[in-house]
Amino acid sequence: MTEVSMTVNGVSVGGSVEGRTLLSSFLREQLGLTGTHVGCDTSQCGACVVHVNGDAVKSCTILAVEANGAEVATIEGQAAEDGTLSVVQQAFQDHHGLQCGFCTPGMVMSTLALLKDNPKPSEAEVRKYLEGNICRCTGYHNIVRAIMAASGQDVAIAAE
């Protein structure tokens, strides 16, 4: 077992992990942060996307020991302490960017990574960036609408 410590959503945390413990497992099972979802566990679906040192990564495909000492951000850190949703979360709600909600934590974390580098993405750029996030409910249109709205842009999109 290896002792790891990291900052998760601004809080210093630590724990004892095996080498093979995935970051997704550490977050969910040891820290109880079950907002990070594991869909495919094969780095295809993107439900488990979190940020490590500011970069979006698939937490099912990085070891907890690889995140030792890192700044980690998960979906739990996005809303305000009083429960007020972040701009991106609120846009997903307003534009019905989720149905079952399983993919939503990864969608929101990927969106935050996109908007950090590209604050006003085109619709095509949004769709391209979300190639690694799979949703089986919405057909993506409302997710794209939500992201256009969250970036302060017209939500009308061409493809219907």
Binding site: D55, K58, E66, E131
Partner: protein
């Protein structure tokens, strides 16, 4: 996944030392190795992470060469290899953004997946693969599906790409895996044209010598008229037959030549 020891060396020398002994395996970004270990297709007793080795990370360019540390992520190459636009563009289309934030050029080349993108770039560019022990020309590096000239415990520390006069990579995406169903990299230099094909052959990445000869004489898509690729020895699976892949090789080569200009 079976349990293993985990090492995080800070220097190449320490990494080489940690890789001595049976069942030790270097870990780049883990985007292929970790899924492989989950499936228990690999079960190293020790993983040696290369991501903390500062001398193996980063992109630099000078005197017509782009030099990339072996532990540099695809995302960093996409952002930092502007001196070789075709290479930066290729890196920016590997996997998806989250995968590109972890996966590394050294990991991709060392794995030599027959459908990976970087092997085509290295082979077409005539890149030099630098390891802890030696320098290996790309022509001597790739050795069939998942095979390379690397010895046990040998680490790709750097890859040096001579920047061609013109180059382009055309990838026919396999949308589920995000690997190339077929990919063709064309590079034109003062010494001639090199064409490298990934995703197609059962022998892995390879050069298409007939196209190279035709394009070296006349660098235009019309020079490829009448050239066909033999379907024998092409990968055939549920995503496409060997004949389909052979057809794609010719189509993508023409597109790459047109895009390279």
């Amino acid at each position: 996944m079976y349990e293993f020891e985990f090492e995080t060396p800070a220097t190449v020398a320490d990494a080489v030392a940690a890789l001595q002994g049976d069942e030790a395996q270097a870990l780049g970004g883990g985007q292929t190795l970790l899924p492989t270990m989950k499936q228990r297709l690999a079960s190293p007793s020790r993983l040696v992470s290369l991501s903390g080795i500062a001398e193996m990370s980063g992109v630099s360019a000078d005197a017509g060469t782009v030099s990339i540390g072996g532990a540099t992520t695809h995302g960093a190459v996409a952002a930092g290899a502007g001196a070789y636009p075709a290479l930066a563009d290729l890196a920016g289309h590997i996997g998806d953004p989250a995968v590109r934030n972890r996966g590394t050029i050294g990991g991709s080349l060392a794995n030599n997946d027959p459908s990976a993108d970087y092997p085509a770039a290295a082979l077409a560019s005539g890149a030099t693969i630098v390891t802890n022990a030696r320098e290996i020309a790309a022509d001597d590096f790739f050795d069939g599906m998942f095979g390379t000239a690397l010895n046990e415990g040998e680490i790709i520390t750097r890859v040096n790409f001579p920047v061609p006069e013109a180059a382009n990579y055309q990838k026919f995406l396999q949308p589920a895996s995000r690997f190339a169903l077929v990919g063709v990299f064309v590079a034109r230099t003062s010494d001639g044209v090199r064409v490298a094909v990934t995703g197609a052959s059962e022998t892995g990445v390879h050069r298409w010598s007939e196209a190279e000869a035709a394009l070296s004489a006349n660098f235009s898509a019309s020079a490829l008229e009448g050239l066909a690729v033999d379907a024998d020895g092409m990968i055939s699976d549920l995503h496409g037959s060997g004949a389909y892949r052979a057809h794609l090789v010719a189509v993508l080569t023409k597109r790459a030549v047109m895009a390279a200009g």
